[in-house]
Symmetry: C2
Subunit: 552 residues, 2 copies
């Protein structure tokens, strides 16, 4: 049985069940899909409830089924979760540093590889896929004093933590510091010395992709609905369709493969309520577009097999085959560093450490700066859509009321003043509307961009932790040689590898910086342009109202 | 003995005593002056405390001394209070309608006339005179979130009710409906038929007066300090000096004389704390100036003996003689209506009643409108000086912080963006200051004008009540004739008099309307002009900041 923790209102036509806080339910199935539990209530009605809304009695928990070999799909789901990286699970269990470990580590992921058990598309078990509202706000309507900002849709009772698993342990630097590079040189990630220092290899033509035309689709005879988006890459100009769950699959792959070296920003949040509403779909599409554009701009990500597959698959067969292939990829997690090649001079560990410290400092400071801007932006959004337009409206109404009173005086020659005061009142009422709509025109993009950067910046601690761990390991190299755990060749190999890692970090930071300068230059200009227009528009309107009065 | 109700901090050099809530004091004298009590505290220190801060044990109250004939000055003070009009006190005691009553009524004020007992200047007993801060606000500084608006200085513990006496009873229409006009025709108040209807006789040249140069003066060997203002009337161009208490004396005289027929707006509030501070003096002077200008603009008030005395007395002797003379004036209160002369056709009571109703409606509606505007204005002031500039400052700081972080990136070609973002940040910090200072430039005058009109409008209920009472009395005329209480001539006289009253009200309303149209036209233009400048200035500043960014 399960206890209901929060009220949940079923989305009609989606086989869900409305439940009330405190209600006791019978659990019918916990394996219907990630994040959902099939239950029966005391009236005998059955349906799905998000698992975050329920407290399932012990013996029935999701964690429990993990241990039972029959629930293969649940194991798969676990492995698909972004935080559980097969190589890391295994690495965390190993304490000794041996070649034997390295071998087992490299082969271990294959044993548990998702693709081995997940050759069904498994749509049914991913019901949360079209339920997100992401970014910093989801409500641009003028509402009450308290709930005017977009943050209101992020109320605690609305949000379900869909990632219940603890964070992975730190990366194991042994794995990638001594691993050999792959035979296939096409997979290599070269770092060149550009004008600004180390840079990635940028493709000759830039890739972009337009997301449009969200359509509500259903499957399982209408039992389940979802939104399908149309993506058109600039390279092929041939549209492909994807659901949110496919984006999430791509995100998981990119995170798994590149997350130790590159920031893979999170997708818009998964969320249960409010899906299928037009505003939410529009907002999610905007966020997916921003995410895709950023991924397209990344030279490493955009040229990766998995990303190309996502944008250019020709049919279901090619998509499924590609999925299986990419899920079998071995060069994931910190193993990515085995692919990095630099033509530049080898750096020593001290230099690597210094770079690492420098970027750590920068990303931390920028994260603080971005959060500060988001905080004040949210507060300002709240004020601009809540109390401020209300006040302008009241001022306008007060002028109009006085004008009406004056009009009732029956005193001759009153018309010019009363007409002018009515215009002034109406002008302030118009200003109220302009003020309330303004954040959507300027603050919106400022907050979106900063929200995106907050996501990017949230990835750096892990990237930097990987580097730090490697630095620590390299520091031990002498001791490891003395203890006979590694030989001098291994040590040389480690030094070369950590030098590559530093070039990788520098290339990534340079990529980040150049994008940052572009993005902030763009968004600041857009913000100021819109602000100028806003204030100019108000000044012009007031000037017109002023001209209605007779000069004294 | 007396209990201290609220903390009071003595103004240095003014013979005051600081006391704390809950303290018990010995009362030394309650007759030192209106509003002040001389006390001794438990440490033996003596000084003055405002009477509103104390709870004096029974047997010692101010009301009590009123009954003791020895305390003549206190009776005088009572009579000087604006709400106690000698003619009304007596009228309220009379219930029968006889010629004898009329006679006694007309002579009664003389018995208690203030000038009869108050031929000393009595500076000592009017210590509250320079303590006021009037109008709707007294603090234009940017301060905390809560106390940003001017209303903060009106905190309950700060304000002392200096008018403890109940409102007078209604006027007695018998007094003025049957009274004979004065012999001296120079005192008559003619009403003419102008283009807009009945109008007062306007003087050929307009009067104005400039108040300037407030100086702190002391008397009684520096024991008491006060502020003296210099008034220069446009007619004589010869400055005269007056303290607030003189303004208050003038106000009392004008209210007594004209209050039943014309709105005599209140002076800025009397207040105990914060006097002698520069802002308060400046603010009070501004309010006194507004009050004097309005009085100067009134054709009846500005040409009255008492007003002319106030502005044109040549020396102390002339001032004191004039004071005594005007305090002896018999044509005060509703008796003013005996002075009104109209050349127009006689109106009947029904028409008078209709006019009265119409103006009652108008002034009530306008009062509502003015209060609404004041309310929203106060709220807007609060927002514009409190949270809004704080938010702009935070936005500016957030931009500048990000700019600083970007500057630390060591990435080449960062300068243009960081410089531009610093300018943008500084611009928003400047906007914060502009926003916070703006209310003083526009809202201030809008609120001042409406505050003045609130004061004017507060006088109309009494003026209208006088008319209503007269209308009721005239309705009884037939019955009074039948009962032999008045004769047919008296009835005719009453009809003629109430017709004059209606013309007087119409003349006053027309004066009010024409001033209102002028004032609101002026203040609305000023407000909108300043608002245009404000928004234009911000737009221009932001445009300049925008130009710092490189075009993409």
């Amino acid at each position: 049985s399960a206890q209901v923790l929060y009220n949940f209102t079923a989305e009609p036509g989606n086989n869900e069940l409305s439940v009330r806080e405190g209600e006791t339910l019978t659990v019918l199935s916990q394996t219907v899909g990630r994040g959902w539990i099939e239950v029966q209530n005391s009236s005998g009605r059955t349906g799905l409830v998000p698992e975050g809304y329920l407290q399932v009695s012990s013996g029935e928990s999701s964690f429990h089924v993990l241990l039972e070999p029959v629930h293969v799909s649940t194991v798969t789901e676990l492995l698909q979760d972004r935080r559980i990286n097969p190589s890391r699970i295994v690495a965390a269990e190993i304490t000794d540093f041996t070649a034997a470990f390295l071998k087992s580590c490299q082969s271990a992921p294959k044993v548990l590889s998702p693709s081995a058990v997940d050759d069904e598309d498994g749509e049914w078990d991913d019901d949360w896929d079209d339920q997100s509202v992401g970014g910093y706000h989801g409500n641009n309507q003028l509402d009450g004093e308290g709930g005017a900002s977009g943050q209101s849709t992020h109320g605690p009772s609305m949000k379900i933590s869909l990632n219940k698993f603890p964070f992975s342990k730190g990366p194991s630097p042994e794995v990638f510091l001594l691993a050999k590079p792959p035979a296939d040189s096409r997979d290599r990630l070269p770092v060149y010395m550009g004008e600004v220092g180390p840079v990635w290899l940028y493709p000759s033509s830039s890739l972009d992709c337009v997301i449009a035309d969200p359509k509500k689709e259903s499957k399982l005879y209408g039992l389940k609905s979802f939104i399908e988006y149309q993506l058109t890459p600039s390279t092929t100009n041939r549209p492909v369709n994807h659901r949110y769950k496919h984006f999430d699959w791509l995100y998981e792959r990119l995170l798994e493969k590149f997350g130790s070296a590159l920031p893979i920003p999170p997708l818009p949040d998964k969320q249960v309520t409010g899906r299928f509403e037009e505003d939410f779909i529009r907002m999610r599409m905007e966020h997916l577009q921003a995410w895709m554009s950023r991924m397209c701009r990344h030279p490493v990500v955009s040229q990766s097999d998995v990303f190309q597959l996502f944008l250019t698959y020709r049919d279901e067969k090619e998509w499924k085959a590609g999925k299986r292939r990419t899920e079998r990829d071995e060069a994931v997690g910190p193993m990515i560093f085995t692919l990095i090649e630099s033509e530049a001079a080898e750096l020593d560990a001290a230099q690597v450490e210094q770079r690492c410290e420098q970027y750590s400092q920068f990303t931390k400071s920028m994260d603080d700066g971005v959060r500060e801007l988001l905080n004040v932006g949210h507060a300002h959004w709240k004020r601009c859509t809540g109390p401020l337009p209300k006040e302008y409206k009241r001022i306008g109404r007060a002028f109009r009321n006085l004008s009406n009173v004056f009009n009732s005086s029956k005193y001759p020659g009153e018309e010019t003043l009363t007409n002018a005061m009515t215009v002034a009142g109406e002008t302030y009422e118009e200003i109220a509307v302009i003020v309330a709509q303004q954040p959507q025109k300027d603050l919106h993009f400022l907050l979106e961009t900063n929200s995106e950067y907050k996501g990017l910046l949230s990835c750096f601690p892990e990237i930097i932790a990987v580097h730090k761990a490697a630095v620590e390991k390299v520091k031990e190299a002498d001791r490891l040689v003395s203890a006979g755990k590694i030989n001098n060749n291994d040590r040389k190999w480690m030094n070369q590898r950590i030098s590559c890692m530093s070039y990788s970090l520098q290339a990534e930071m340079n990529h980040f910086h150049s994008n940052r300068i572009y993005d902030y230059n763009r968004v600041m200009q857009l913000y100021l342009e819109q602000q100028v227009t806003f204030y100019q528009q108000i000044a012009d309107k007031l000037r017109a109202a002023l001209s209605q009065f007779t000069t004294l």
